[in-house]
Amino acid sequence: MPPLDLHPVAEVMPSPCSVSVLKGNTAIEHLDRTLTVKTSEIKIGDRVDGLLCNANGRILDRLMICNLGEDMLLIGNHGVGDDTRENLIRGIPWNEEIIVMNGDAAITHLRLVGGAVNRCLAGLGIDTLEISEERWIEYGSALISHTDYSELSVVEILVPTAELVEFTALLHENGAISPDRNRCESLRIELGILDYRELNSAFLPFELGLGHMVSLNKGCYPGQEIHARMDSRGKASRGIVRLRMHSDVAVGKHKVPGIGSITVTASAKAFEGSVALAVVPLPAISLEELKFEGGLIAAMQSL
């Protein structure tokens, strides 16, 4: 596989998202009852990533949570914020006062990726050693954290939308660039960053390698029975991989002779062809390449 083609400093990628705020003394407990991860011990400034699943164990939303003290900030998938908020509201017990607010227009999620992200952030006066995966640090009104992927660490930035232009200009002044839409998508695929194209009800957490976002010992939550059964009976029947091809592949279901049906969730042009994310039957995961009906050959790489 070719080495990751990174900008020498940094690229700022907007990440479409939904934003919800929970207010109330029992907001943490409410999330704990609802999500796949334990939130009951989340402290102020902590970051916890979890999934909202349906009773069939399928993913409804992925939430990046920040405990802001009196409020819980939830960054979810693009396009499903209303459903997630309704889901959260419907389950509020009669004796708990929890308010749910829509902040989709208020906060923007950016990702910073590159060969010298530290230098870019240092120019803003941010000590990158303070940035962790478990905590959010404040920079003015913005919040910063990072996520480790197999290839690279990606900086996550939440910034008030009203300050987005100013904040992005600061990053540009310190060497970052804003890539075009295709580049954002190809970087996302190269890094294995999952978004609403993958994190939806077509898939189960284990199929997307998200076992770390499923707590099997926290007690019941919607989907828990299915997740526990999958864990005890031998995991998922499908898995997610990255494909690399010399030409484009359409998003959707494809037949691969000898393998069966695979689902391409995302595709983008990349250096010398295209890259894609696909969910394939488990027996195929160890293969080095796939041959689509029609002859297209794709090199396969696990995330």
Partner: protein, 128 residues
């Protein structure tokens, strides 16, 4: 943290809930168990049956004995002289349920059979 200090946040989000007249069937063992549990509190306290998010199937049942909240948001049912309350927001999910009581060491206690549920979890404490 100042990230919520800006503009663009909505007023509290509300969802519309259909309110139906609640009907609940209690088996004789369930009535006896409730009376026994309430003891002398039956005159001042009520049983609230509710649903909240959680459990394997989406919602969990909850039963609490509390002092009568005298709140119009609840529907009142008379069950053999005891008062059972169901909050209007839960009325659609809980109307038609059958409450039973099983006096067994394993898996005993109040059991709820819910015709509105598409599914329920193995332990019977949640539905969806």
């Amino acid at each position: 943290m100042g990230i919520l200090g800006g503009e663009g946040f909505s007023l509290p989000v509300v969802t519309s809930t259909e309110v139906v007249d609640v009907q609940i069937e209690f088996t004789e063992p369930a009535k006896r168990a409730m009376k026994s549990t309430m003891g002398e509190d039956g005159a001042t306290h009520v049983v609230i049956i509710s649903a909240e998010s959680g459990g394997c199937s989406g919602y969990m049942y909850d039963m609490q004995i509390v002092e009568d909240p005298n709140d119009d948001s609840f529907q009142r049912l008379d069950v053999g002289g005891l008062t059972v309350l169901v909050h209007n927001k839960d009325s659609e999910m809980l109307s038609g349920i059958r409450v039973d009581y099983k006096d067994t060491l394993m898996g005993g206690g109040f059991q709820i059979d819910n015709p509105n549920a598409d599914r329920s979890c193995g332990c019977g404490q949640s539905f969806g």
